[in-house]
């Protein structure tokens, strides 16, 4: 069998996007410790390959429905790093203009459905987007991300049942990182794999090493092509691990250190860098050039976000309805 080859620029783009995501999060971690992020911070360290590699195959007019560990998806889908940073710092220049927290940011233009905190709610919504594409005869796809924990909610099952019935161009990406907050996967479900659930709703479920950026990339390529060609939904379960706590304030004492060590050695970015250098696709100076470029992008993004103003207080009342005339009950002080 012929070994698959990839155009160099695609490999380097993937590498760049992975690094950008990790370094973006490293900046966030610093900002958090400086008290500049007023809410919670949920990082994807060790899992970056999943949102980043899957989004490589999407066009601007495709839709994604990301969740809290998909920062990379926002970046690859085209959200400006400064704008995303401003969102996280609760500034006026973020997509939600300070209304909502962290990654709860969307963009119609970029095809990003803003996440909410209601786990698995994204699935029926993304199924609806995909269904709409199908009935309009468009070759666009919708991609929904979720954790294995969220897949235990009714919304997951109801969404998959609908997707199985109508076979819309939907790709479901399960990020199985073995933990839902403190709860290990064995305490959440009686089967080992979320992918098994797809079959009972009438479509294909695949399992892939979520720490192998190219494996994720290839599997997604298959699912996206299939969806575009009318082949219906696919569930891709990406096996990975949550290297840090659930959020920055969680010390995660429940994660055995040996387990963490094993997975640290399976770092998706380090391994991909090694893959590239071993094959002569990346040398020291190229790597340096990419790193410098990312550092500059992030310096700019942080400066933009920090210099952006907070929203004016009265904006709390805006965007509740289309007609922004003050309504009955909209003020507590008369």
């Amino acid at each position: 069998m012929a070994v698959k080859t990839y155009p160099k620029e695609k490999l380097l783009k993937l590498y760049h996007d992975l690094l950008l995501t990790r370094q973006f999060e490293q900046r966030l971690s610093i900002l958090y410790r400086q008290g500049k992020i007023v809410g919670g911070l949920y990082l994807s360290r060790g899992q970056e390959a999943i949102p980043v590699a899957t989004c490589q195959h999407l066009r601007k007019d495709d839709f994604i429905s990301p969740v809290h560990r998909d920062l990379g998806a926002f970046l690859v889908k085209g959200m400006d790093p400064g704008v995303l940073m401003a969102q996280i710092l609760a500034k006026q220049t973020g997509p939600s203009k300070g209304k909502d927290s962290f990654l709860h940011a969307g963009s119609k233009e970029l095809g990003i459905i803003p996440p909410t905190s209601i786990l698995a709610s994204t699935i029926p919504i993304a199924a609806g987007v995909a269904f709409g594409f199908k009935i309009r005869g468009e070759d666009r796809v919708a991609v929904s991300y979720f954790g294995e924990g969220g897949s235990n909610r009714g919304d997951f099952h109801e969404g998959l049942n609908f997707a199985g019935l109508h076979k819309p161009p939907l790709v479901l990406i399960c990020e199985n990182n073995k933990y839902a907050y403190s709860t290990p996967v064995e305490k959440e479900m009686a089967i080992c794999c979320v992918a098994y659930r797809a079959e009972s709703y009438g479509f294909e479920g695949l399992i892939v090493d979520g720490n192998d950026a190219l494996a994720v990339y290839d599997t997604m390529e298959y699912a996206v092509n299939k969806a575009r060609e009318g082949g219906g939904p696919t569930l891709i379960e990406c096996m990975t691990y949550r290297i840090s706590g659930h959020s920055e304030h969680d010390e995660a004492k429940y994660q055995p250190p040996e387990e963490k060590e094993i997975w640290k050695r399976r770092d998706p970015i380090e391994n991909f860098r090694k893959y590239l250098t071993d094959r002569g696709q990346l040398d020291e100076s190229e790597d340096q050039r990419i790193q410098t470029q990312i550092a500059q992008t992030l310096d700019k993004a942080v400066a933009f976000a920090e210099q952006s103003p907070y929203p004016p207080p009265e904006d709390a009342l805006r965007h509740v309805f289309a007609n922004e005339e003050p309504k009955y009950g909209d003020r507590h002080h008369i």
Binding site: V38, G98, S117, I118, A180, T183, M189, P313
Partner: protein, 327 residues
């Protein structure tokens, strides 16, 4: 008497009730070994084991539904919803399944269970970690609704809720979890459901509040009394449903002026019901329209200036008191 925080009071209530009655079980997301997102169940798993402190999958309809099933056959479950906002995911189980059980079986079955949930804003939780959903449940017959404002009340009310024969939805204002600290006796006590607390007596105006707004009202009342020589009667409802009408009426008859303060959105909140009751049953005693201080009918925003704008402030309470006095 030792001083403890509200979250510690909640924990003690569960621990003591579990020791007293082996049918009491706790269930919810991460409540086991981890001790809960806010550490309200810390240590219970180690003491009582996995069949009394039950970690569940992320499935609020399972949390409430399983609690209901267990309650039907004689357990007294205390279910934790990680944040009150996610109670919507178990809404059907509460409103259609749990609340109706006694009624639809003509008393043959009932559901002695508690659904605890950290609620309300003030900690930059954003849209999905800040809501005050008590009115949704107060509107539903068949369930009791509790919102404590002190550690003492939280402990006593939770113990009463666990012993109650009806389902109780118990909202704990998370802003107060570690800020509300008071002396809580080590001896056994309960605070009965359905009884409001007279925080202080006064003659000029009655201020009725509950939950996260109670400390803010205490503060406003203090300022009014010190700076303006006014005498204010302050009532903490503690239980939203059933409402302690007697205490509210008694006070309104005495002061003839009423200000209602609550954190939830103003429209169709708890204040609307109390104002309607007073207008209906006590009209002749009122010397001024009833004032409501609450949050605007917008979602609960994240960014600090927005959230600050959103939440009722001490000055709003003072202004409302002036308004009913100067009418």
């Amino acid at each position: 008497m030792p001083e403890i925080t509200m979250v510690e009071a909640v924990r003690q209530a569960m621990k003591e009730e579990m020791e007293r009655d082996e049918t009491v079980v706790v269930l919810g997301e991460d409540v086991g070994e981890y001790g809960g997102a806010f550490k309200a169940t810390e240590g219970l798993f180690q003491q009582f084991g996995e069949y009394r402190v039950i970690d569940t999958p992320i499935s609020e309809s399972v949390i409430v539904g399983v609690a209901l099933g267990m309650a039907i056959i004689g357990f007294r479950p205390v279910a934790e919803i990680q944040f009150a906002d996610f109670i919507t995911c178990g809404f059907d189980m509460i409103v259609n399944q749990t609340a109706t059980l006694r009624y639809r079986t003509a008393g043959d079955m009932h559901a002695p269970m508690v659904i605890r949930a950290p609620s309300a804003a003030g900690v930059h939780g954003g849209l999905y970690h800040s809501q005050s959903p008590e009115a949704w449940f107060a509107h539903t017959p068949g369930i009791k609704v509790v919102v404590p404002s002190t550690a003492y009340d939280a402990k006593g009310l939770l113990k009463a809720a666990i012993r109650d024969e009806d389902p109780v939805v118990f909202f704990e204002p998370k802003y107060l979890y570690r800020r509300a600290k008071d002396e809580v006796p080590e001896q056994e006590f309960v605070v009965p459901l359905g009884k409001a607390k007279l925080l202080q007596e006064g003659g000029d105006v009655t201020v009725v509040t509950y939950g996260s707004m109670a400390p803010l009202c205490r503060n406003a009342v203090k300022t009014l009394e010190e700076e303006e020589d006014l005498s204010i009667e302050l009532i903490d409802l503690r239980t939203i449903m059933p409402l302690d009408k007697d205490l509210i009426y008694e006070s309104a008859k005495k002061t003839n002026r009423v200000v209602l303060v609550y954190e939830d959105h103003k429209t169709l909140g708890i204040g609307a019901e109390i104002a309607a009751l007073l207008a209906d049953e006590l009209f002749e005693y009122l010397d001024a329209p009833i004032a409501r201080v609450a949050s605007p009918d917008t979602h609960i925003p994240y960014s600090p200036p927005l959230e600050e704008f959103y939440l009722p402030k001490k000055e709003d309470v003072i202004a409302a008191v002036h308004r009913v006095i100067e009418y």
